[in-house]
């Protein structure tokens, strides 16, 4: 019984991770680092909660999350692809912008910096996001493997010169990949605020964007492996929620902090090559210069 609950909870909390990880993969496979995943998720979460509240339909809320995720991503693409800003610096800045901008807009719209108004059950999702997230994972995997446009994305990250030589603009491929990644990240954010919770609250992503990034690396930039990593990290989160306040003996409670840091420690180990080797796309982080 407890095990069943734990599995159900794992599947629920992995949903935002799955979608964000897919967003991260599409963006990073094209050669653009996606530190800004966290910020895009946060903006998506806010857009979904705010629009669902105003219109009363979660589907339109999701649409808003995708659009605002895409807008944020387009802004990021403008800075890093066109203005050639350092991708790590720009990503950090976009994260900070999201942290500051969401309560700023929330204050204007709802006169509260803390959270958006709570949504009734009818404006929230029950199971749909879980199904959508798995469909997205499988579709993106198949797309990158079998469809030409998906292969372009991989080439833009591995061998941009070859792609350019075959007559396809690396710049355009990267732009669209970053924007597509932003859509998935926005969608991921929406599952936080209108599926797992009933409103947007300040800084509600709480590092999930970085966990998703960790899953991308853990899964070696491969959608299916990354999905497995998301399930593993989701399990860690579910276990941690389940063990919160549980006492073992003599009133000693389980130190959940150690379960909390597990995904991060695991990622450090994988990156260091202690458990297999994670090789990033060859041109990751390098701006493309037409030669």
């Amino acid at each position: 019984m407890i095990l069943l609950q734990l599995i159900e909870s794992t599947i629920r909390v992995s949903t935002p991770l799955l979608l964000a990880a897919v967003g991260g993969i599409v963006c990073e496979r094209s050669g653009v680092i996606n530190i800004a995943l966290e910020g895009k998720m946060l903006i998506g979460a806010f857009a979904a909660a705010a629009v669902s509240h105003l219109i009363g339909s979660p589907w339109i809320g999701v649409g808003a999350a995708i659009i605002f995720g895409a807008i944020t991503a387009a802004f990021y693409a403008l800075i890093v692809i066109e203005f050639k800003a350092d991708q790590i610096v720009a990503g950090t800045a976009v994260n900070m912008l999201a942290v500051g901008l969401t309560p700023f807009v929330s204050k204007i719209m709802f006169d509260s910096t803390g959270s958006t108004p709570a949504l009734p059950l009818s404006s929230r999702f029950q199971v749909a996001p879980v199904i959508i997230s798995w469909l997205v994972v499988i579709m993106v995997w198949a797309w990158m493997k079998y469809i030409p446009t998906g292969r372009w994305v991989r080439f833009a990250g591995e061998h941009p010169e070859a792609l350019e030589a075959s007559g396809i603009s690396v710049r355009a491929v990267r732009w669209w990949s970053v924007i597509a990644g932003g859509c998935f990240a926005g969608l991921a954010g929406s599952t936080l605020s209108i599926f797992l919770a009933s409103s947007f609250s300040r800084n509600m992503t709480a590092g999930r964007g970085f966990i998703a990034l960790a899953a991308v690396i853990f899964g070696k930039w491969h959608p299916l492996y990354a999905a497995a990593a998301c399930l593993f990290f989701g399990f860690a989160e579910a276990l941690q929620i389940r063990l919160q306040g549980v006492t073992l003996w003599d009133g000693v409670s389980v130190p959940v902090q150690f379960i909390q840091i597990m995904p991060y420690v695991a990622t450090v180990f994988v990156l260091a090559g202690f458990i297999g080797r994670a090789r990033p796309p060859r041109s990751l982080g390098l701006p493309f210069k037409k030669g």
Binding site: I35, I79, F83, V94, N95, P103, V265, V268, L271
Partner: protein, 352 residues
């Protein structure tokens, strides 16, 4: 040379200007908001003191990011390193409460520096010997540090008399001197430590062999290797030094202000350090100036909650991120620069 100094100044100003234009969406007059910012950051001795109080940790984290950057490394982990530094400073203060005057603060400073250095050395070692990218590792270690510190606070050093998640208070002698000039503002001699450290870092980077080797590895790793420098050793050293510098935030927070470790005391000083280093062009003097600006922004925005109806202190993050983006968007300024030059040339051509 002139362009090098001019560009960050113009970029910072335009970043703030864009941020202030955004406040019109909240129905506020940008000029009015700007006046509140300036008044709140520098208006009274107390305000100035608070600005300096916020600037002090930013000098440390800014230097931390700058030193790592000199070696060609990106230290996104200052947040975790300062957490470990502050935790260590509090821990020695709790474990040896009876220690006397000159030794206690010295032990505190050393604990803060060493703990930060150890935490910074981990991604440094992983980069140098295992080839693992320091950006991801430092981000991950931030979360690990947060987890460990919250465990230590809640299980080992918990203050049972307080409702807040914080450690027991440190011994009386550990406190560094409070500067009376600024009234109630918690400015301490940690401010002087920050300035001395920035001078030392300057000296280290430009006047010592090791400092030169750090720059050499940062400029061109292959060339440095050919010149007989071990890049791995330098990377490890630079990250340890960066971590130690970030760890010194523990001095201004624990020994200079709170007297204990409080979970969540840092309003992302580590990430603000990236902005500070970027704006200060990774130069210790520039870092001090940039830290002052960001300290002033942080203090200035704190009064917006009271003084305006809809603009809150969250504007601080927005302004900072816009400044970072404006400074980082090198391509934009290059394009603007060439466009202006071309226009000038055309104008001159038409005069001829």
């Amino acid at each position: 040379m002139k362009v090098k100094i001019l560009r960050p100044i113009i970029a910072a100003m335009s970043g703030i200007a864009i941020g202030l234009i955004i406040v019109t969406f909240a129905g506020e007059n940008p000029w009015n908001v700007f006046r509140i910012l300036v008044k709140s950051a520098f208006g009274t001795k107390y305000d100035l003191g608070m600005t300096l109080f916020y600037s002090t940790p930013l000098v440390f984290t800014g230097l931390s990011v700058a030193v790592a950057f000199r070696a060609g490394l990106f230290n996104i982990g200052a947040e975790g390193q300062l957490t470990m530094g502050a935790l260590a400073a509090a821990a020695v203060g709790i474990i040896f409460p009876e220690l006397g005057s000159p030794w206690a603060p010295m032990l505190g400073v050393r604990a803060a520096f060493s703990a930060g250095a150890c935490w910074g050395a981990i991604p440094g070692w992983l980069k140098a010997r295992r080839g693992a990218h320091e950006v991801i590792n430092t981000i991950m270690l931030n979360f690990v540090a947060a987890g460990i510190s919250s465990w230590v606070v809640l299980y080992l050093l918990k203050n049972t008399e307080s409702q807040n998640p914080e450690t027991m208070p440190i011994g009386h002698w550990y406190f560094v001197r409070h500067l009376e000039f600024f009234g109630d503002a918690p400015v301490s001699t940690a401010l002087f430590l920050a300035i001395i450290v920035s001078l030392l870092v300057s000296f280290f980077l430009w006047r010592t062999v090791l400092g030169f080797e750090i720059s050499a590895v940062g400029c061109n790793e292959k060339a440095a290797r050919v010149a007989g420098i071990d890049p791995g050793k330098i990377q490890l050293l630079a990250m340890a030094l960066a971590g130690g510098l970030a760890g010194l935030v523990g001095v201004s927070e624990v020994l200079g202000n709170a007297g204990k470790f409080r979970i969540g005391f840092s309003p992302d000083f580590g990430f603000m350090g990236i902005a500070v280093a970027l704006l200060g062009r990774n130069n210790p003097t520039g870092v001090v100036i940039a830290a002052l600006l960001f300290g002033a922004l942080h203090k200035g925005t704190s009064d917006l909650d009271l003084e305006t109806e809809y603009v809150t202190r969250d504007l601080s993050m927005v302004l900072q991120s816009l400044v970072i983006i404006s400074v980082a968007a090198d391509g934009l300024w290059d394009q603007l620069g060439t466009a202006i030059k071309r226009k000038f040339r055309r104008d001159f051509a038409s005069v001829d």
